[in-house]
């Protein structure tokens, strides 16, 4: 199995996604999955398209900012409708970016991808300002990012897009129930958890 992952890092949201996507890389290494890590300045369109056209990649995970028709890498659009989606044929794709599930994800499937998981609304997560320098220790961000990471963990285990989606939704349901209890603190996380859960879509 060969995994390609993009991890731009140039603002606070991508700083968090960079570190949380790093956990997926650790898991892939542990499972001896081969990895192409396009981090920081390597998260550019030319590099992504070159690897997609030349390497037998099975799973593609793109982290970054997005819109309904495009997803960005390090300060540039790296994939958009009509520009590179055909390169994802026969691959399973997870795009952790705002809105990309609305139009881009559907085109990716139409162009022959095995499966697609993404979001049809802005991807939101809370940040504890005291944890900005240690995002993996941010206990406010972790419930949301763990649920989202579950997609990647399941794909790395060899599961299909739909199985990965269901694993992630199960995690959202479990975490949401935990924060719904009468003793729970930080119940302000619930609207954000429910928002991302309802926004996460899977096509295959």
């Amino acid at each position: 199995m060969l995994l390609l992952i993009t991890r731009p890092k140039y603002d606070l949201p991508t700083h968090y996604l960079f570190h949380w996507a790093g956990l997926l890389i650790n898991e892939a290494k542990r499972r001896r999955v081969k990895i192409i890590d396009l981090d920081k300045e390597k998260a550019k369109k030319d590099k992504l398209h070159s690897y997609l056209s030349k390497q037998p990649i099975d799973i593609v995970i793109l982290n970054g900012h997005g819109s309904s028709e495009a997803v960005a890498g390090q300060n540039e659009i790296i994939l958009s409708t009509g520009n590179g989606t055909y390169l994802l044929k026969n691959k399973t794709v997870f795009i952790r970016a705002c809105d990309a599930g609305t139009i881009l994800g559907k085109e990716i499937i139409e162009m022959g991808a095995k499966g697609f998981i993404g979001y049809i609304q802005p991807f939101m997560f809370p940040i504890d300002k005291d944890c900005v320098n240690k995002p993996l220790e941010d206990k406010l961000a972790s419930p949301v990012l763990e649920c989202s990471n579950k997609v990647g963990f399941s794909l790395i285990k060899g599961k299909s897009a739909m199985q990965a989606q269901n694993d992630s939704l199960d995690e959202y349901a479990e975490v949401t129930d935990r924060y719904s209890s009468s003793e729970a603190i930080n119940s302000f996380l619930l609207p954000i958890l429910l928002w991302n859960m309802a926004s996460q879509v899977c096509y295959q």
């Binding site: 802005p122 939101m124 997560f125 940040i127 300002k129 939704l169 719904s180 429910l194």
Partner: protein, 84 residues
């Protein structure tokens, strides 16, 4: 990146309800909203008052949660999402 916005008019009562909920969030919290950046709770309250794109999304999120409280929230949302 550009985000879609909901053009629906929001009443003052709804705005005040959303603002009251935001005021319960601790001051050490920021909310990251995709390419728009991360926002303090004070920023979000101002944007809900103005009902700009960010304010509308935050309003939509809080209202979706409140509407879900009358149901079995997680299972129904899971089913709805799985059927997309």
């Amino acid at each position: 990146m550009e985000e879609k916005s909901n053009s629906q008019n929001i009443s003052e009562d709804i705005k005040n309800l959303v603002i009251a909920r935001l005021e319960t969030i601790p001051s050490n919290v920021e909310i990251s909203i995709g390419g728009k950046g991360s926002f303090t709770i004070e920023d979000l309250i101002e944007r809900v008052k103005k009902q700009d794109n960010i304010g509308k999304k935050i309003t939509e999120m809080q209202l979706a949660y409140l509407r879900s409280l009358g149901k079995l929230p997680t299972q129904e949302l899971k089913d709805a999402s799985a059927n997309n």
